[in-house]
């Protein structure tokens, strides 16, 4: 059978199977076999059809097997619950509870299906399995990207691509509700749909950022420190694949009424709202495993697997940033998992943690939530700031100014990040005895952040700057993160925060930190390492168009957001009072938002097309001293043929005759970029 025929057949069988499962579940629930709204059925049929299509292409592909496992997990969970409930003499079908148990079992089914647990299960019964290198025998090269693989570069790309896909989903949602806000009154969204969309936009973007961080960390850290892989390759694959069912659970919530709590899921609203909220809470609970396991892996890798001579203060600065990030991820993620789990338990088992009427405490949720979610912001930005520090010397042809200060400022931010969480609660009704100390600690964060800014300025000062797309994104990161940073202190000062809190000022501030601290550096990293990953160059012209649209669009949007907030625009509202006179500002924000959206689309198009058709890249197009640029592109399966030795400082650009690494007996002295780059 030709592949096209098998995939078509697979699609049809899959769609039919999906339809049957859908009807069967409704039958178990004692509901009419078809719902009035047929959209969930269509979605299920198309989705399972695609699974069938993928299986038709190759029945050993991990991703569709995982999805089938996930569906099986749901069925097992639902049937078990129905069974237990009938044994207990309860009504067998309770929509919320059966789906909640299903959602807890489904990710396990996915992991079994995709093969993330296979080796470990074999080990338990005493079967030895060797490390896996390269695509499975007899399979094409692309095969490994759609299934469980142990290579850090494959996993890095899996993280990155999944992150970009989720960014697309969340960005599209933003465009929908930004369009709704063009005028006062409700245009085409109902309030509940609006609330669901903003909630999904927030949490899916956060998932996307965590995936982007995981992508950069996995691909770059082993390469930068001269390791052949991460310390625990199977754990690494597991940490990626658990994010996929988690993300699916979150998106699935939309078929269960969505949820209207925002990404923060504050109790008691999250306890009282529709059942879709469960899937969001459980999805994030499982997503947390990825952060915890991935960071444990990274810390061990960075501390134990460095090349000879790579002392801590000769570590690439990005690795420092990732170490700081991982310390937060390893120790804080548990708290968001805990707080979300507590809401699920309160909803489904009547454990009234947050119900004041029964002795619970609504503020407890906020404390637990922010104890992770504030440090989480530093998880999002520290890697990005690391990218800025990493790239700036290369494009300035000068040493990184104040290397040790920058490295330690990341650690200082990570540490301080744990002491500031309650600044999100200045208006929540905390005692003043807590408001004041949290104001002081929050203010302190400005100090190490300032050190980074000033050190970057020291780095570009009297350099020989050149401006290919990655450098443009680095400069934009600094300019945009500056807005985010400077709008911070008015929020940290309690009295001004009493006005600004929960207003669009916060929305502007937060988006500026996220774009400056993650989105711009992420794209800088994508363009910068693109030739290393694919062996081809991206299109410089499209890169510049992407840069221009995203930078101007974002600059205008975030400043306008802040302005609107001062005037009284609240965050997360489906409609605004025309009397506030802010419609023009909303039009500006929407247009600017679309500029960003189109810019990102052009960027993604550039990367996708150039990966196949771009010019073949030279080995070291940027003239970098870093070891990964001294080996062929794309990087060979085992990274370095022979281990290299670190013989100098990473960023001593402009000090003649020095090198960072000695490889195969040669010191790798970097010259300024020789690729076909414009001088300006």
């Amino acid at each position: 059978m030709p592949t096209w025929f098998r995939s078509l057949l697979g699609f049809i069988i899959g769609a039919l199977a999906g339809t049957i499962v859908f009807i069967a579940v409704r039958a178990i629930g004692g509901l009419p076999l078809l719902s009035a709204d047929l959209r969930p059925l269509y979605a299920m049929a198309v989705f399972s059809g695609l699974v069938g299509l993928m299986l038709g292409i190759d029945k050993e592909l991990g991703l569709p097997r995982g999805l089938v496992g996930m569906a099986a997990g749901f069925v097992v969970g639902i049937l078990t619950t129905v069974g237990i409930r009938s044994l207990l003499g309860l009504t067998p079908w309770d929509s919320e509870r059966v789906w909640v148990v299903g959602a807890f079992v489904a990710p396990i089914g996915f992991l079994l299906g995709v093969g993330a647990l296979s080796d470990w299960l074999r080990w338990i019964v005493g079967i030895h399995t060797p490390d896996q290198h390269g695509p499975p025998p007899g399979k094409p090269g692309w095969f490994r990207y759609f299934g469980f693989d142990q290579n850090h570069k494959v996993i890095g790309i899996q993280y990155t691509v999944t992150g970009i896909l989720l960014m697309g989903v969340a960005g599209t949602l933003a465009m929908v509700f930004r369009t709704e806000l063009l005028a006062p009154g409700l245009q085409f969204l109902k309030p509940d749909t609006f609330n669901t969309f903003i909630s999904m936009h927030g949490i899916i973007m956060i998932a996307s950022i965590l995936l982007g961080v995981g992508g950069m960390a996995n691909y770059l850290v082993p390469l930068m420190i001269g390791a052949s892989d991460m310390a625990f390759p199977r754990l690494n694959g597991f940490a990626f694949w658990i994010t996929v069912p988690s993300a699916i659970l979150i998106v699935m919530a939309i078929f269960f009424g969505g949820w209207d709590t925002g990404w923060t899921g504050y109790a008691p609203l999250s306890v009282r709202t529709v059942m879709g909220v469960n899937l969001f809470l459980i999805g994030i609970f499982f997503f947390g495993f990825s952060s915890i396991l991935g960071s444990a892996n990274l810390i061990v890798t960075a501390l134990k697997m460095r090349a000879p001579g790579m002392t801590l203060f000769r570590l690439p600065i990005f690795v420092w940033a990732m170490l700081a990030t991982s310390l937060i991820q390893l120790t804080a993620t548990q708290f968001i998992g805990l707080s979300f789990l507590m809401v699920v338990l309160e909803r489904n088992l009547g454990m009234e943690f947050f119900n004041a009427a029964l002795g619970g405490d609504p503020l407890l949720f906020q404390h637990l939530f922010w104890f992770y979610s504030h440090p989480a912001v530093y998880i999002f930005i520290l890697p990005g700031l690391g990218i800025v520090s990493e790239l700036l010397p290369v494009f300035s042809r000068k040493p990184l100014f104040g290397y040790k200060w920058i490295a330690l400022s990341s650690m200082a931010i990570a540490l301080l990040g744990f002491m500031v969480w309650a600044h999100h609660m200045f208006t929540a009704g905390m005692p003043n005895a807590l408001r004041l100390p949290f104001m002081y600690t929050t203010m302190l964060v400005a100090v190490p952040t300032g050190v980074k800014f000033f050190s970057w300025l020291g780095t570009v000062w009297r350099g020989k700057l050149f401006f290919p797309t990655p450098m443009l994104f680095v400069l934009a990161s600094i300019a945009v993160f500056l807005i985010g940073g400077l709008t911070g202190p008015p929020l940290a000062t309690v009295p001004t925060d009493l006005h600004l809190h929960d207003s669009y000022f916060v929305v502007g501030h937060f988006h500026a930190t996220m774009f400056g601290g993650f989105v711009f550096p992420f794209f800088a990293a994508l363009y910068y390492w693109f030739p290393k990953i694919t062996g081809r160059m991206y299109n410089e012209r499209l890169g510049r168009i992407h840069f221009a649209l995203q930078t101007t669009g974002f600059y205008i949007m975030s400043l306008t957001m802040a302005r609107t907030g001062l005037l009284g625009m609240r965050r997360r509202i489906a409609d605004y009072d025309p009397a506030l006179n802010i419609q023009n500002l909303h039009v500006i924000m929407t247009v600017a938002g679309f500029a960003i959206f189109i810019g990102v689309l052009i960027g993604v198009y550039n990367l996708v097309v150039s990966a196949r058709r771009g010019e073949v890249a030279v080995m070291n197009p940027w003239g970098s001293r870093s070891p990964e640029w001294q080996i062929p592109s794309p990087v060979p399966e085992h990274n370095y043929e022979e281990p290299f030795e670190v013989v100098g400082n990473p960023y001593d650009y402009g000090l003649p005759g020095t090198a960072y690494v000695r490889m195969n007996g040669h010191e790798k002295v970097a010259a300024p970029g020789t690729a076909a780059l414009p001088a300006r």
Partner: protein
């Protein structure tokens, strides 16, 4: 050195230009309270600091981008230097002192906003999905609008009946969450006669966007008149033509907004949390228990003061139960007339 002088001159010029512009921008809504004046002064100090730092960083960055760029085919590297401990210490210490000073100022202003006064007016604020109500325990009156006398310190005691909401009047610049099961306090001295809105600032579910109520800051005389009318003890002064009768439909329309009805009941036919009011009067409704009934004045009155009595099929029993207490009979009748007018 030449570069340092150049960039310093550019930065100083730009800082003064931007400070001049910033000082002529109306950043905030009108100042409606004594606290607003204090908070705005602190905010303006923040803005000035932001401008200095913004120009400093961007000035050096842009200067470098334009002046220190590599010429075409220039193979040389930048000037080699990799740090300066004195500078690093300076730009650690100076920001440290600055932010601590801001925190100190912040603590002082916070202290002032918390001070109690002897003659303060206590108002009990209750938030629920998605309406506000205000009670004045001193006189036992309740209202859906927040009426305050100017220049008298008001003391809000804040409660929530369901989820977390947040009390925010942008013109007052202060915000306080209302938390179920907890009592919170907020004090404000309104200083400007005018009409504002309290806007719920904490996402509280479906109709969060519409959870607003009118705030009327009045002269003490007007407030006294309102208080007496509310208590039913108002005696018109000589020459005053008594209480001018208001068009009931107009009154109803006003109450519909101020009491938060329109957060859940649309007037254009679209279904929100509750049934729409368009074409409601005279319609035959089916109730949750299967019975039916024609919408007349008696039904509307009952549905306002005792909303649980009859629930229209397809809707939930979520409407607040206290409208009978916080609306006057005139206001309820106005509402009914307004609903009748929506055909």
């Amino acid at each position: 050195m030449r570069h340092a002088i150049n960039v310093t001159i550019i930065i100083i010029v730009c800082v003064f230009a931007l400070l001049f512009i910033a000082n002529n921008v109306q950043w905030m809504p009108v100042q409606g309270s004594a606290e607003a004046a204090l908070i705005d002064r602190l905010f303006n100090l923040h803005i000035d600091t932001i401008i200095v730092l913004y120009v400093l960083v961007n000035g050096i960055l842009l200067y470098s981008v334009f002046v220190f760029r590599r010429k075409k085919d220039d193979p040389s590297e930048g000037v080699y230097f990799h740090g300066n401990t004195t500078l690093e210490v300076l730009w650690t210490i100076i920001p440290l002192i600055t932010v601590l000073y801001f925190a100190f100022l912040g603590a002082n202003v916070l202290q002032k906003t918390l001070e109690a006064a002897d003659d303060e007016l206590q108002v009990v604020v209750t938030a629920r999905q998605w309406t506000w109500s205000f009670e004045y325990p001193e006189w036992g009156i309740a209202s859906t609008e927040l009426n305050l006398p100017v220049d008298r310190r008001a003391h809000f005691v804040l409660y929530s009946e369901d989820v977390t909401h947040s009390f925010w009047v942008p013109e007052f610049r202060l915000k306080q969450d209302t938390v179920p099961g907890q009592e919170h306090h907020l004090r404000v001295t309104p200083t400007r006669v005018g009409t504002y809105k309290v806007r719920c600032a904490e996402l509280c579910g479906t109709s969060h966007a519409y959870m607003e109520a009118a705030v009327n800051v009045m002269t003490p005389e007007d407030f006294e008149v309102w208080r007496q009318k509310r208590l039913g003890i108002y005696v018109p002064t000589e020459g005053e033509a008594g209480v001018e009768p208001q068009d009931p439909v107009a009154l109803g329309q006003q109450v519909a907004t101020s009491a938060g009805c329109t957060a859940c009941h649309s007037v254009d036919g679209s279904a929100l949390v509750g049934p729409t009011w368009k074409g409601l009067f005279g319609k035959t409704e089916t109730f949750a228990d299967g019975t039916t009934g024609v919408v007349d004045e008696a039904y509307l009155h009952e549905s306002i003061v005792n909303p649980s009595a009859k629930i229209v099929s397809g809707f939930q029993d979520v409407m607040p139960k206290n409208y009978g207490d916080i609306l006057t009979e005139t206001e309820i009748n106005g509402l009914i007339e307004y609903i009748k007018s929506l055909q």
